[in-house]
Subunit: 356 residues, 2 copies
């Protein structure tokens, strides 16, 4: 078969460790399913700042651009937190999203059975929660003009939030398509009672909705959504929203599942290209100690197989392998009830590889 | 003693019913404590749109301006939701905040013992939760320039978010003062890794912090705060943030207490003037049926006494009366376990009045 090129960005903190386990999984699926992958590693985030003087070296961008998909570990750490803007890992993250045209961030928030007690929500409230936040990722206040100016009341800082019809159309269309393949419910989240961008957003949603008559649409104000996620999480299916609201709500949604350490995400552009990464961060405090949980990164590979390559068989196999290892009681320390029984990053990776 | 003027805005939905009970409480405290109140009623929100053609008639503004404090019921309802912007209740709300200079919204989120089971959070997580969100209320993206323009990608909508040093200083100073009188912990919430307004915000916070060496300060990113509120609600004391983030986080915080129907809020400007209102909305579905819970509005009176008038004795008396009525087992239907035993709006008001 065709060789798929995967750009591998290990990043900072626990990034290299969890990515290493995901690469073992890649290798194993090559052997078992006959797929062929060519991986190319690239520097990004804090490590790229240290080694190349910029969080997103041109070379890294080129590695991504000639790849079919990107696997990302995690970026960031306290040592770069007080850097000037151009020398911060986040700036690389925003830069790579924009440069690769990744306008859509899919954040599935599901409850893993073995982790449901880890949630701070009551089990009966959580029951059946399985939602997907579709977040616009290359527009809005993240990318609008920003500046400072002097006023009679001291310096003033300004951020600009802008959305055009085309930007809203493509993300909303994608959300409707996703909802159609799931439980056919879409919540579009905005603040149309205050923001002009939200009013445009809502107009576009209402124009697209008739093309998806089988999808039940509700408009939810962002403040109300923050409440409803807590009150009735299982009633949501797909939530689509703009960049800033999506940042907040996807983290809230992930946290309420109690499974945040196990969740993966996809950032997609036009066509099948995508960047896949765990939802969790770089966890510098446990880096390099074989303590990190590699499951979210391994599940990111499954998501890549499913969404970018169309390798549903291998995706299923990986997801089943993860489930069987968890069902057999194996846990890394972050998800272990009895920490003394916990296994390490590598051991978890090996068990999953063996179970595929 | 001096006569205090209170502008009373009943508003829409259940507003008039809950405000009527709060007025009984006002009257009773006059009798018991010798305070003197002069109330003046004014039209606002949906009812003002219907009767005066605008959500915030000039007359209403004048009634508020000559008052020492404002008591507000609730505004809004589905019949005005599709109106053009100038004819929507929310526009009145934004207008009154700006016109009265109410730059600070205090939203205490506490757990009422009798309601802790109403929360979707586990009781052990909720235990000890007692936090206050201090939300900036007259700046940011709510009040920045908004417009549409044509682009090659269809219409584009633009919202502008701006903050100057003075605007940040006054709200942050207030938050430090409040924290100093509480558990001396302040979380300042921003998105400084992305927004210029947040970077200014953080700079100002860091400049003010040394004046309050006894207050423990943490900077929390807004997405992380949405998660931490769920994970460790009881660890927060005071949270200060800008307008849009405050809208979202204060609703999330209120909902997680399980006591949202009982929470009151204060909107303050310079000096002692303030507008007091329940956190809950106008609940048009139960309006006019003697079903609404008047407690949040009655507690708004207590908050007014404490914060604007300095009548701590009467505030204490009202709060104790509410507690004793609840402890005696009386419930309106929204908070009753056995709905058939529930009492009405008026009955709840009468019981509280009798208990003062
Ligand atoms: C690090 C930060 C810039 C980023 C964002 O806000 O998009 C992160 O929170 C995320 O959600 O991927
Ligand atoms: C109605 C709306 C404009 C308002 C706001 O967003 O400020 C409301 O949500 C609130 O929190 O008081």
């Amino acid at each position: 078969g065709e060789v798929k090129k995967i750009a591998v960005i290990a990043g900072d903190g626990i990034g290299p460790e969890v990515v290493a386990e995901a690469e073992k999984v890649l290798k194993r699926t090559e052997e078992l399913f006959g797929y062929k992958f060519e991986t190319e590693h690239a520097l990004f985030g804090g490590i790229a700042i240290d080694k190349k003087g910029t969080p997103l070296p041109q070379e890294t961008l080129e590695v991504c651009q000639r790849a079919d998909a990107v696997l990302l570990g995690a970026v960031g750490g306290p040592q770069w937190d007080n850097n000037p803007k151009e020398l911060r890992p986040e700036t690389g993250l925003l830069g790579i999203r924009k440069a690769l045209g990744l306008f859509s961030n899919l954040r599935p928030a599901v409850v893993f059975d073995c982790l449901k007690d880890a949630s701070t929500l009551k089990p009966e409230v959580l029951e059946g929660t399985d939602l997907m936040v579709v977040r616009e990722l290359t527009g809005g206040i993240y990318f609008g003009e920003k500046f400072r100016r002097d006023t009679e009341h001291g310096q003033e800082a300004v951020d600009t939030c802008a959305y055009n019809v085309k930007e809203v159309e493509r993300i909303v269309t994608q959300a409707f398509e996703i909802a159609q393949k799931r439980r056919k419910k879409l919540a579009s989240v905005d603040k149309a009672n205050v923001l002009e961008t939200s009013r445009l957003w809502r107009e576009v949603v209402n124009e697209i909705a008739p093309k998806y008559p089988d999808v039940e649409l509700e408009h939810v104000l962002v403040d109300n959504c923050a409440m409803q996620l807590l009150r009735r999480p299982s009633s949501f299916d797909v939530i689509v929203t703009e960049n800033m609201f999506g940042d907040i709500l996807s983290d809230e949604a992930a946290m309420l599942t109690g499974s945040i350490g196990m969740l993966s995400s996809a950032s997609l552009g036009e066509g099948s290209f995508g960047l896949y990464e765990p939802v969790h961060g770089s966890a510098p405090d446990i880096a390099g100690q074989n303590l990190a949980n590699p499951i979210a990164t391994i599940l990111s590979v499954a998501l890549m197989f499913r969404m970018t390559f169309g390798y549903a068989d291998a995706a299923d196999a990986i997801e089943s392998a993860v489930a069987s290892v968890l069902n057999a009681g194996h846990r890394t320390s972050d998800i272990a009830v009895d920490k003394s029984q916990a296994i390490g990053t590598k051991e978890m990776g090996d068990l999953i590889v063996a179970a595929i």
